[in-house]
């Protein structure tokens, strides 16, 4: 029954397909569609930029808010509390909203000792994640003082952990001759086994790994460089798993193969396999992600 159904299905689908005899429309029609897509993309990009700008402006205004009560406080407002000191956020656009503490921007005058004359008052930021220091910000006040300058001290120097400098393998820049035709799955598997260095980062996986190890025992792993510059296989369920080569020549024509890289989490990354002389491996997942690799000993 199943075989009959499959046979019928195949025949019926081919018969229906044969009844469709389209001819490609003129290239000008396609060009028009391409232009329309480009215009749409520009419009979307512009909209996103406008929204981002509006969000930035809203952030700037919110910094003028008196303690986050939802009402905007203007320096020239007649009902403004006489004891409030409001910072004019001249650099607020450069400060991420999440790292700009409102409490540090609005300071109750009762907590600040009376300024002697023009001596600056230093307020330490409540968070050390303030990205930039705001120096000599003008202050508007209705209190009967001459001039007050509030300085937010710069954050303490932080040390960012360093990784070994990234070196692009020289073989990546060797002139390419041609893609090679791959005869069969066994040959492809044989040629793929080894350690491969990523020419670009992010790699085929979209991460900052140094390369890809493909083992003859059917395992794969992302490679990383140690501080000493050695290549090591990365740990983690997303960073290793099993691999398999599929012959896709019936779908894509002779000499086409695909590698499936299944991680220990169960996800599979699929890619076409292209080898370019001299020794270069090109992985490409339908244009979604891709990466060029060269042998690690090159």
């Amino acid at each position: 029954m199943t075989d009959d159904l499959e046979e019928q299905l195949s025949q019926r689908l081919h018969a229906r397909a044969a009844a469709v005899t389209p001819s490609p429309p003129a290239r000008s029609d396609l060009d028009r569609r391409i232009r329309h897509r480009q215009r749409r993309r520009i419009a979307v990009t512009g909209s996103v930029a406008a929204v981002a700008l509006a969000a930035g402006a809203a952030t700037a205004l919110s910094l003028r808010d008196g303690g986050g009560n939802g009402e905007l406080v203007s320096a020239a407002h007649p009902d403004e509390p006489s004891a409030a000191i409001i910072l004019a956020p001249t650099t607020s656009l450069a400060m991420p909203a999440t790292t700009a503490p409102r409490a540090a921007a609005v300071v109750d005058a009762t907590t600040v000792p009376p300024p002697p004359s023009t001596a600056p008052t230093t307020i330490s930021p409540t968070s050390t994640t303030v990205a930039s220091s705001v120096a000599t910000t003008p202050v508007v006040t209705t209190a009967p003082v001459a001039t007050t300058t509030v300085v937010i001290a710069p954050p303490p120097t932080t040390t960012i952990p360093t990784t070994p400098p990234r070196v692009r393998p020289t073989a990546c820049d060797s002139p390419e001759r041609a893609a090679v035709a791959l005869p069969d799955t066994a040959t492809v598997e044989h040629l793929l086994v080894g350690n491969w260095l990523a020419c670009d980062r992010p790699s085929f996986f979209g991460t900052d790994d140094a390369g890809l190890a493909i083992g003859a025992d059917g395992h794969w792993a992302k490679l990383a460089r140690t501080g000493a510059g050695d290549l090591v296989e990365m740990d983690g369920r997303d960073n290793r798993g099993s691999w398999k080569v599929l012959d896709t020549s019936s779908m894509n024509g002779p000499g086409h193969f695909q590698i499936n890289l299944t991680s220990l989490t169960g996800g599979t990354r699929m890619s076409s396999v292209v080898l370019i002389a001299p020794a270069k491996l090109v992985l490409n997942n339908m244009g979604v992600s891709g990466g060029t690799y060269v042998p690690a000993n090159s």
């Binding site: 397909a17 009844a19 389209p22 396609l30 290549l231 076409s272 080898l275 244009g287």
Partner: protein, 164 residues
């Protein structure tokens, strides 16, 4: 750390360079017809099939240099575009279409139209394109297990629809 493996020796005898790839225009004229036929089997409407194929070609234009295997990209994109169209049809009655002419209808065609988008795409890949389970999974970005279960359910649905 593992040692570096075998270096691919692409200079060895018997390895022949592939022929030059098709240009975009050549690909457009060469692949348009087969892709529309493929799309029309899934969306069941010639005009929407042509729309889908042209949309995919327009998308390919912007990334043609980066796509390594344009034909495979086109095939997968057309199928996925058609699946999206079928999903949109389910929520928007305006997109529902009148079935094709009577010359292409029969009990099996009617049964095919009742299939869910995913199952219909699997059936077309398997029985029209003749792809293996693994190739179907790769084209549709599914697991092989999902393909097998979709295929089994599609056959069950079709048998149920064909049984008087």
């Amino acid at each position: 750390m593992r040692e570096a493996g075998v270096v691919p020796n692409t200079d060895q005898p018997g390895w022949v360079a592939r022929p030059e790839p098709l240009t975009f225009d050549e690909l457009y004229h060469h692949a348009y017809g087969p892709l529309v036929r493929l799309a029309s089997l899934i969306v069941d409407d010639r005009h929407q099939a042509q729309e889908a194929v042209q949309e995919v070609f327009a998308r390919l234009w912007t990334r043609f240099e980066r796509v390594r295997d344009p034909e495979a990209y086109l095939r997968a994109s057309v199928i996925n575009e058609c699946r999206s169209l079928l999903r949109r049809r389910r929520v928007s009655p305006r997109l529902r279409i009148v079935t094709e002419t009577s010359s292409t209808t029969g009990p099996l065609d009617d049964a095919l139209r009742t299939l869910a988008p995913k199952r219909r795409a699997v059936v077309v890949c398997r029985f029209y394109l003749g792809l293996s389970i693994e190739e179907t999974a790769s084209t549709l970005h599914m697991n092989t297990g999902t393909v097998k279960s979709s295929l089994r359910r599609a056959q069950r649905d079709l048998r149920g629809a064909l049984t008087p």
